[in-house]
C-alpha cells in the first residue's frame, strides 16, 4: 500500500484570529531555550546577585550591627548596573541566532508564507529576547523592592521612594528595548550567529573604547555620547535621580539611545523579507 493511502483529511476545525502569530513565535522560542541546560545555568547565575542583595536587605532590617547595609535608591540602580554583565551574555546567547539562524535555514520564506506580517515576526523574535532580559533585570529588581517591604515590615522606604517602581520599570524597559533591537538588527545582517555575537560585542566594546580614548585625550566626559553603555548609564542616573557621571547632557544620551533603536528598526525593515532581492 503506498504510504499516501494512509490518508489526508481536510481540516474542519476553527482557526485562531489573526494577530497572534508573534505569540506563537515567542512561546516556541522560549520553550526551545529553557530546554537547554547551559542556558538555565546562565539564568540561575544571573539571579545570584539578587540573593546576595536579598540577604543584605534581610540583615539590614533584622541585625542592628548591619544597619549600614540598609538599602537606598542607589542600591537598586547599582543592582541593575551589576546585572548588565548577565544581560550581555544572555543577549549574545539568545539574540545572536534569532534571525541569523532563520536566514541560514531559509526559514523566513516559511514564516512569511503564513498569515504573519513582518512586524509580527520581528516582534515575536524581539519578545523572546526581551522576556529573558527582563527576567534578569526588571523582575529581580522589582522583587528586591518587595523583599525590602517584606523584611522591613513597613512601607516607609517604599513611600519615601515611590518613584523607584516606575524608575526601575522605565529604565529596564529602555535598556532592554535598546539592547534587544540592536541585537536583532545585527542578527538580521548575517547567517552566522557566531559572527553576530562577535559583532555585538565589538559594537559595545568599540564604542566604549572610543570614548575611553577621547576621554584620555581631552580629559572631558562630554564625549560619552559615543558610548552606548555610557548613554544608558547617563539616562539611568537621571531616571533614578542620582548625580550624573558624565557631562554629556542627558537628552543627548537619550537621543542616541532612541536613534539606535530607530536605526535598528530600519535595518530590520530592510532585512526581514520573504525574498532576498539582489538587484
Amino acid at each position: 500500500m503506498p504510504i499516501h493511502d494512509q490518508g489526508y483529511r481536510r481540516y474542519s476545525g476553527g482557526k485562531a484570529p489573526r494577530g497572534y502569530g508573534w505569540a506563537v513565535i515567542t512561546r516556541a522560542g522560549i520553550r526551545t531555550l529553557v530546554a537547554k541546560r547551559a542556558f538555565l545555568g546562565l539564568l540561575l547565575l544571573a539571579w545570584f546577585p539578587f540573593f546576595v542583595r536579598a540577604v543584605q536587605i534581610y540583615a539590614a532590617a533584622n541585625l542592628p550591627q548591619a544597619a549600614f547595609l540598609a538599602p537606598t535608591p542607589s542600591t537598586f540602580r547599582d543592582f541593575l548596573g551589576q546585572q548588565d554583565i548577565f544581560a550581555f551574555f544572555i543577549t549574545v546567547y539568545v539574540g545572536a541566532g534569532l534571525i541569523a539562524n532563520d536566514r541560514r535555514a531559509n526559514a523566513l520564506q516559511i514564516y512569511l508564507s503564513k498569515p504573519l506580517t513582518r512586524a509580527e515576526y520581528v516582534f515575536g523574535k524581539l519578545a523572546i529576547l526581551m522576556t529573558f532580559l527582563l527576567l534578569v533585570t526588571w523582575v529581580p529588581a522589582i522583587l528586591l523592592l518587595i523583599v525590602q517591604i517584606a523584611f522591613a515590615g513597613n512601607f516607609t522606604f517604599f513611600q519615601n521612594n515611590a518613584y523607584l517602581f516606575p524608575a526601575i520599570t522605565v529604565f529596564t524597559f529602555l535598556d532592554v528595548t535598546m539592547v534587544a533591537t540592536a541585537m536583532l538588527a545585527l542578527s538580521s545582517l548575517s547567517k552566522s550567529s557566531r559572527y553576530v555575537g562577535i559583532l555585538y560585542a565589538a559594537v559595545i566594546f568599540f564604542t566604549q573604547a572610543v570614548y575611553g580614548v577621547l576621554f584620555a585625550v581631552t580629559r572631558s566626559t562630554s564625549f560619552s555620547w559615543v558610548s552606548f553603555p555610557a548613554n544608558l548609564t547617563q539616562v539611568g542616573d537621571v531616571i533614578f535621580r542620582l548625580p550624573l557621571k558624565y557631562s554629556t547632557p542627558w537628552p543627548v544620551s537619550l537621543l542616541m539611545i532612541l536613534g539606535l533603536i530607530a536605526v535598528s528598526g530600519l535595518v530590520l525593515e530592510r532585512r526581514v523579507r520573504g525574498v532576498e532581492v539582489v538587484a
Binding site: R10, K15, A16, P17, I25, T32, N106, L112, V277, A279
Partner: protein, 311 residues
C-alpha cells in the same frame, strides 16, 4: 467556488529586480485543479509565485488569489494557501513533528489540532517513522517531503509547489509526484506546480501555463494544447543518393514543419487537412520511398518546444 472558476488571475503584471525584468506584462489565469507552471530556468515561475504570496510587490498590474486581491488582503490569502519553496527551508533546531505543528500554529490552528495534523500529514508524506528526527539531519528527499508537509498542515485551499522534485532520486520523485497527483485529484486541493520538468507537469496536472522570458508563451488544458491544428507524423524515407536533406527542404518549402528526431526518422507536422496524402504526394514527386509512416501523438514537449520557440 466551482471547479471552473479561476483560483489565480494576473492582469498585466510586471515585476522587475532593478533593471532586470522578471515578469513582463503578464496576464494569466489558473483554473481550479492542478495547473502546471512550466518554463525553463529563469522564465519567471518562482517570481510569479513569490509575487502571488506578496513577497515581491509588482511594479504594475493586479493579482487575485482565491478571489482576493494580493495587494489588499495578503494575510487572508496566506491563511488559505500553502507554499512549498524551491530551496531548502526549515525552522532550525526542531524535529519534524514540532516543525510542522509550529507551522500549523503560525497558520492559525489551535495547538492541539496543529500537533494532531502534524502527525497526520507527516504520515501522509511518508515521514511518519522519521518524525522525531531533527530536520537538519534529513536527506534532500526527506527535506522535500517535510516542505510539502508544512505547506499542507493547515489544509490550504491552494498549494504553490515550487520545483517539488528537485534533488530527489527516481523513487522519491515518483512518490512525490504520486502525492501531488493524489492531492489534486482525490483530495480536492487546488495546486500550482512550478517545474521545468515536462514529465512532472504532464503526470500531475490537467492544465498548463508555459512561461518563457518573463511572459506567457502558452496556456490551457494539456489535452487541448496537445491537439495539433493538423497532424504530426513519424516518417522514414529512402532517397536515391541516401541523403534526406534535399527532401527535408522540399517538405519545408511546401509549408510542412519538419525536424529529425533520430538517425533516419523525422517528425513532420502537416497543417490543415492534407495529412498523409500530402506527404505521399510530395515523396512521389521527388522519387523518394516512404519506408515508415506513423501518426504521432503530440506530447507536452511539443507544446513546450513550440511555445518557447525551440523547433
Amino acid at each position: 467556488m466551482t471547479q471552473t472558476d479561476s483560483v489565480v488571475t494576473l492582469e498585466r503584471v510586471t515585476v522587475a529586480y532593478g533593471k532586470s525584468v522578471a515578469l513582463r506584462d503578464v496576464t494569466a489565469s489558473f483554473s481550479a485543479g492542478a495547473v502546471g507552471l512550466l518554463g525553463p530556468n529563469g522564465a519567471g515561475k518562482s517570481t510569479m509565485i513569490k509575487s502571488l504570496l506578496g513577497f515581491i510587490v509588482p511594479e504594475r498590474g493586479r493579482m487575485r488569489v482565491l478571489g482576493l486581491d494580493v495587494a489588499v488582503a495578503p494575510l487572508e490569502i496566506r491563511a488559505r494557501v500553502g507554499y512549498m519553496p524551491e530551496s531548502d527551508a526549515h525552522i532550525p533546531g526542531m524535529n519534524a513533528v514540532s516543525f510542522v505543528a509550529y507551522c500549523g500554529e503560525l497558520a492559525g490552528l489551535p495547538r492541539v489540532d496543529a500537533m494532531q495534523r502534524a502527525h497526520e500529514v507527516l504520515f501522509y508524506v511518508g515521514l511518519g517513522e522519521a518524525r522525531y528526527r531533527n530536520v537538519e539531519t534529513y536527506s534532500t528527499g526527506m527535506k522535500q517531503r517535510i516542505k510539502l508537509a508544512q505547506a499542507l498542515v493547515h489544509d490550504p485551499d491552494l498549494l504553490f509547489l515550487d520545483e517539488p522534485t528537485n534533488g530527489m532520486d527516481p523513487k522519491g520523485r515518483d512518490e512525490m509526484l504520486e502525492l501531488v497527483r493524489d492531492l489534486a485529484h482525490n483530495k480536492g486541493v487546488n495546486l500550482i506546480l512550478s517545474s521545468h520538468l515536462l514529465p512532472d507537469v504532464e503526470y500531475t496536472c490537467d492544465h498548463v501555463v508555459v512561461m518563457d522570458k518573463g511572459a506567457i508563451a502558452a496556456a490551457g488544458p494539456i489535452a487541448a494544447l496537445k491537439q495539433p491544428r493538423g497532424r504530426v507524423y513519424e516518417l522514414r524515407v529512402k532517397t536515391r543518393d541516401g541523403a534526406v536533406d534535399a527532401f527535408v527542404e522540399r517538405l519545408q518549402s511546401a509549408g510542412l514543419d519538419c525536424h529529425a528526431t533520430d538517425e533516419d526518422i523525422m517528425r513532420v507536422f502537416v497543417p490543415g487537412e492534407g495529412g498523409a496524402r500530402q506527404l505521399f504526394a510530395l515523396a512521389a514527386a521527388d522519387n523518394v520511398q516512404v519506408r515508415h509512416l506513423r501518426p504521432s501523438v503530440s506530447t507536452l514537449e511539443d507544446v513546450f518546444a513550440t511555445a518557447v520557440g525551440e523547433k
